[in-house]
C-alpha cells in the first residue's frame, strides 16, 4: 500500500454551489488500491460533496480528478462507474417492490424492449459475487420487505455488480444495528483484501479506528489533517475535526437559572423507519438558561425536537411544560403554555413560502384571540400592524408586506420566523439549527436574540450541529449520540476536544455519560 500510482487522485478541488456556498475550498485526496480511507468531519465539512465529485454526481468548480494517473471528466455517475467508481448513498435507490436480484440488475438488464430478461444467467454471476465478498443477500425477496440493513447490502451488491473497484460509502453504519456493524466491518475487510479501495464517509471515531487504514479529516471545506490510522488517537481526530473556536462571539453574562420550565422523563421516540431514535432521555431546561444539545445530525435530535414540539408522538416518557404534563401531537396547546418553536427547516415547517409576510406572521398564531374577531374572521388591520412591528423590530428586509416570503433571503426569512416566535412572549424557546445557512449578520443577530431571551428569564433549548454555536450560547450542554446524551453538564466542564470525542461516540475517562447508566426500570 502507498506505492505506485494511486487508483484515484483529486487535486485542488473547489466546489461552489449555485447559492454561493463554498463547500470545498481546495481539497487534495488520493486513494490506493486495496486501501480503506476514512473521510471524517462534522456536518457541512464537505465530505459528501467531495465524494459526489469523485462519483460523477457533481462537477467540481475547479480542480482535477485523475484515475489511474489519467485525468478524467465525469459528466454523470455512469461515467464514474465505467471507471470503476461507485457510491452508496445514505438514501437508497432501490425499487421497493422489485426483488433484490431485479434491483441489482436494474439498468444492466441487457435485454431489448421485447426480449425477456436474462435473469438466470445474471443470477449465477450475482451469486458468485456474493460468495466472493461474503455478502448475504436473499435474492428473491422484494426489497421493501427486507430490513434496512439488508437493503443496504442490496445497494452495495448493486454497485459492486457494476464492476466497482472504488467503493464510496456515505455514513453506512447509520442504517445498521450495533450487531450488524461488526458483520459489516468483516465484509469491508474482505472486500479490501480483494483489492477494492474503499472510502468511508463517517463521523464515528470508533469506526475510523477499527476498520480504516488512513484518515482524512475535513473541516469547512479544507483538509484539516491526514494521518495513518495506526498513529491516530480519538483525541487527535476529535481535535482535527472540531478545530479552534470560531470568532463569532456573542456576549453572555453569567446568570443563575431558576425553576425548570421543561422537564423530560424517560422519553423514547421512533423515527419514520420505526427505529428508536431517542432512547430514554431525561433532562430539564430551566428559566434563564440556554441548554445546548450538540451532536452530529441524525443522532435523534430531529425526533427529540419534534416530540417536544408536538409534531411527533413519543413512544414512551413524559414531557412537562411549565408544571403541566403536555399531550402529544397538539402543538397549539404547547404554544398556549408558552412554547416558541424555531424549527430545523424553516422552509418545511416554519414558513409557507408561497404566503406573504402578513400571512406568515400569524402562522401558528392564527387562533390567538387578538387576531381573530367574530365568526372566526381574521382581524386584518390588527394583523397588518403586528406584521409591520415584527418587520421593524427584527429588521426584516422585504420590498413590501405582500411579497411571498419565497423571494426573501434566508436571513430575512429566519428573522421573520424567529421574530414571530419570540414576540409570543414564550416561556420556552426550542430552536434547532437556528442559524444554518444564514449570512454572518443574521447569524450573530439571531444568536443575540436567543441570549436576550435567556437574559429575560426564558428557558432556551438550543439544538444545533454547529458546535461553536452550542458552546458559545449555552449555560449547560449535552452531546447527543445514538439517541442518548453522552455527557450532560455545565458548559465550563467540557473541553472542546471532549465534546468532539463525545460527538464521535467516544466517552473519555472521567466524563459522566448518561449512556453508561443502567437503563431505568420501567
Amino acid at each position: 500500500m502507498g506505492e505506485g500510482t494511486p487508483r484515484v487522485q483529486m487535486r485542488g478541488i473547489h466546489k461552489v454551489y449555485p447559492d454561493g456556498t463554498a463547500a470545498l475550498r481546495g481539497v487534495d485526496f488520493h486513494l490506493y488500491p486495496g486501501e480503506v480511507v476514512a473521510l471524517l468531519g462534522e456536518n457541512g465539512a464537505g465530505k459528501t460533496t467531495l465524494m459526489k465529485v469523485l462519483s460523477g454526481l457533481l462537477r467540481p468548480t475547479r480542480g482535477d480528478v485523475l484515475v489511474d494517473g489519467r485525468p478524467v471528466h465525469f459528466h454523470n455517475p455512469v461515467d464514474a462507474l465505467r471507471r470503476g467508481i461507485g457510491m452508496v448513498h445514505q438514501v437508497f435507490t432501490l425499487v421497493p417492490p422489485f426483488t433484490a436480484l431485479q434491483n441489482v440488475l436494474l439498468g444492466q438488464e441487457g435485454a431489448g424492449l421485447l426480449r425477456p430478461l436474462p435473469e438466470e444467467q445474471a443470477r449465477a454471476r450475482v451469486q458468485q459475487l456474493l460468495e466472493e465478498t461474503g455478502l448475504e443477500v436473499p435474492l428473491d425477496v422484494p426489497v421493501e420487505s427486507l430490513p434496512v440493513g439488508v437493503q443496504q447490502r442490496v445497494e452495495i451488491c448493486k454497485t459492486l455488480y457494476r464492476g466497482t473497484s472504488v467503493l464510496i460509502l456515505d455514513e453506512p453504519t447509520s442504517a445498521l444495528a450495533p450487531v450488524e456493524v461488526d458483520d459489516f466491518f468483516r465484509f469491508l475487510r474482505r472486500l479490501r483484501d480483494r483489492g477494492t479501495s474503499i472510502v468511508l464517509i463517517t463521523h464515528k471515531l470508533r469506526e475510523v479506528l477499527e476498520v480504516t487504514d488512513r484518515v482524512v479529516v475535513l473541516r469547512q471545506g479544507l483538509v484539516a489533517g491526514e494521518l495513518p490510522t495506526a498513529s491516530a488517537t480519538p483525541e487527535r481526530l476529535a481535535e482535527l475535526m472540531v478545530g479552534a473556536l470560531s470568532t463569532l462571539r456573542v456576549a453572555r453574562a453569567p446568570r443563575s437559572p431558576g425553576q425548570p420550565v421543561l422537564a423530560v422523563r424517560g422519553l423514547r421516540v421512533r423515527d419514520d423507519q420505526g427505529r428508536l431514535a431517542v432512547q430514554d432521555l431525561s433532562f430539564e431546561v430551566r428559566e434563564g438558561e440556554v441548554f445546548g444539545v450538540a451532536g452530529v445530525e441524525g443522532n435523534g435530535q430531529s425526533e427529540l425536537v419534534q416530540a417536544l414540539t408536538g409534531l411527533r408522538r413519543p413512544e414512551a416518557g413524559e414531557i412537562w411544560l411549565a408544571g403541566e404534563r403536555v399531550p402529544s401531537l397538539d402543538p397549539l396547546s404547547l404554544y398556549r403554555r408558552g412554547l416558541a418553536h424555531v424549527p430545523e427547516d424553516k422552509a418545511r415547517f416554519g414558513l409557507a413560502l408561497g404566503f406573504d409576510l402578513v400571512e406568515n406572521s400569524i402562522l401558528g398564531r392564527q387562533r390567538e384571540p387578538q387576531f381573530v374577531g367574530w365568526f372566526g374572521r381574521l382581524r386584518g388591520p390588527v394583523i397588518l400592524r403586528y406584521t409591520q412591528e415584527l418587520v421593524r423590530r427584527f429588521r426584516v428586509v422585504a420590498p413590501d408586506l405582500t411579497t411571498p416570503v419565497r423571494s426573501l433571503s434566508g436571513g430575512n426569512q429566519q428573522r421573520l420566523l424567529v421574530g414571530r416566535e419570540i414576540s409570543k412572549e414564550p416561556r420556552l424557546v426550542v430552536a434547532m439549527h437556528p442559524t444554518r445557512g444564514l449570512d454572518v449578520a443574521s447569524t450573530v443577530y439571531i444568536r443575540e436574540l436567543l441570549v436576550q431571551m435567556r437574559d429575560a428569564g426564558k428557558a432556551v433549548l438550543l439544538v444545533s450541529a454547529d458546535l461553536d454555536e452550542v458552546l458559545e450560547l449555552s449555560d449547560r450542554i449535552a452531546v447527543m449520540y445514538g439517541g442518548r446524551f453522552l455527557g450532560q453538564g455545565p458548559v465550563e466542564e467540557f473541553r472542546r476536544e471532549t465534546v468532539g470525542l463525545l460527538m464521535g461516540g467516544v466517552v473519555p475517562e472521567g466524563v459522566h455519560a448518561d449512556a453508561a447508566r443502567p437503563p431505568s426500570p420501567r
Partner: protein
C-alpha cells in the same frame, strides 16, 4: 404598490388568451375560413346584443360554481374532480324539493336551493371522509363517486321524480321554486346573483377567516400546517363540503334557475359535463373564486358565441369546439404549470 403583484396573474392570463386566440385563428385559417370573420362572429354572438350577453351569463352561471369546487380543493392541496357527481346530486335534491314539496313562495325557492347544495355537500362527504380518515386518494374516489352519482341520479330521476306520463324528464319545479327570469329572450335567471354571491362568500371565507387561512395553509405547506396546529382531516372535510355546496348549487341552478325545462332530464342531459368543464374554468381563473367568475364568463362567451360562428361563418361545430379547446388549453397553461412546479418542488 400592491396592485402590480396582485394583477400579475390577470396579465398572464390575458396574454395566454391572446396566444390561444392566435393559435385558434391559425386552425380556423387552415380550414379555409377567415379568422377575422370567425372571431367577429364569436364576439358578436357572445356580446353583440343584450340578449346574447345575458345568454353568455346563463352559460357562465353553473361553471363559476363547479370551478369553485375544483379551486377550493386545490387551495387545500386536493385534486377534487368530483364536482360532476356532486352537481348531479345537487340537481336531484333541488328537483325533489322544488317539484314535490309544496311550500309557500319565497321559502320554497330558498328550500330548494339549500336542498341542492346540501345534497351536493353530502355526496362530497364520501370522498372527503375516505380521504381524511382512510387516506383514500381523492382522484380515485371522486371519479368513482362521479359514476355512482350518474347512475344513482338517473335512477332517482326515472323512478321517484319522473313526471307522470313523461319518461324523458322529472317533474318540473313548481312556480314557487323558480328563480325569476331576467329577460324573456334569454334563459338567464336571478340564480346568477346567487352564484356570484356564493363565490364571493367563499372568497371572503378563504382569505378573511381563520378557518380559510388554515385551509389555504394546509394546501400551501402541509408540514407548516401541522406546525401551526391545523388538523389535516378537518381541512380535507371542510374543503370537500365547501366544494360540494358549490357543485350542488350548480346542479340546482340548472333545474330551478334555467328555463325552459325547469326540470332534470332523465338522461341528465341538461347538466352533464358542467362539473368537468369547471376544472378548466378553475384553471383559467387561477383557482381563485373571483378569477373563476371571470373565466366562467369567458367560457360562456365561447359557448354562446360559437353558435353564431357556426351559423354565420360556416365553421363546423367540431371546429368550433376544437377552437374553444385550444383557447382554453392555452389559458390553463400558467396555472397548470404553477401547480406542477409546486408538486415537483415538494
Amino acid at each position: 404598490m400592491r396592485t402590480p403583484r396582485a394583477l400579475r396573474p390577470l396579465v398572464e392570463s390575458l396574454a395566454t388568451v391572446a396566444l390561444g386566440l392566435v393559435a385558434g385563428g391559425v386552425l380556423v385559417w387552415a380550414f379555409g375560413h377567415s379568422p377575422v370573420a370567425a372571431y367577429r362572429a364569436l364576439a358578436v354572438g357572445a356580446f353583440g346584443t343584450r340578449e346574447d350577453l345575458l345568454e353568455t351569463l346563463a352559460f357562465a352561471t353553473p361553471l363559476m360554481l363547479t370551478a369553485l369546487t375544483f379551486a377550493v380543493g386545490v387551495r387545500a392541496g386536493l385534486f377534487n374532480i368530483g364536482a360532476e357527481g356532486q352537481m348531479y346530486l345537487g340537481a336531484v335534491g333541488a328537483t325533489f324539493v322544488a317539484g314535490m314539496v309544496p311550500l309557500p313562495p319565497g321559502v320554497h325557492l330558498v328550500a330548494a336551493t339549500v336542498a341542492g347544495m346540501l345534497a351536493g355537500a353530502a355526496w362530497a362527504l364520501i370522498p372527503g371522509v375516505l380521504k381524511a380518515w382512510r387516506g383514500a386518494h381523492e382522484v380515485i374516489s371522486t371519479i368513482m363517486c362521479n359514476w355512482i352519482a350518474l347512475h344513482l341520479s338517473m335512477y332517482l330521476a326515472i323512478h321517484f321524480l319522473a313526471e307522470p306520463g313523461r319518461a324523458e324528464r322529472t317533474v318540473p319545479a313548481l312556480p314557487t321554486a323558480r328563480y325569476p327570469v331576467l329577460s324573456e329572450e334569454s334563459t338567464l335567471t336571478a340564480v346568477l346573483f346567487v352564484a356570484v354571491g356564493f363565490a364571493l362568500v367563499v372568497y371572503a371565507y378563504l382569505w378573511g377567516t381563520r378557518a380559510g387561512y388554515e385551509l389555504r395553509l394546509a394546501g400551501e405547506n402541509p408540514e407548516a400546517a401541522r406546525y401551526a396546529g391545523v388538523r389535516p382531516e378537518r381541512v380535507v372535510v371542510l374543503s370537500f363540503v365547501l366544494g360540494g355546496l358549490a357543485a350542488g348549487l350548480a346542479g340546482a341552478s340548472q333545474v330551478i334557475g334555467r328555463p325552459p325545462a325547469w326540470s332534470l332530464y332523465a338522461t341528465l342531459g341538461n347538466v352533464t359535463t358542467l362539473g368537468f368543464d369547471g376544472i378548466g374554468v378553475a384553471l383559467v381563473g387561477r383557482n381563485h373564486p373571483v378569477g373563476g367568475i371571470l373565466a366562467a364568463v369567458l367560457f360562456g362567451a365561447l359557448a354562446q358565441g360559437g353558435r353564431l360562428m357556426e351559423y354565420e361563418v360556416g365553421v363546423l361545430s367540431e371546429l368550433v369546439r376544437a377552437l374553444n379547446g385550444i383557447i382554453v388549453f392555452a389559458m390553463a397553461v400558467p396555472e397548470l404549470w404553477g401547480m406542477l412546479r409546486r408538486r415537483l418542488s415538494r
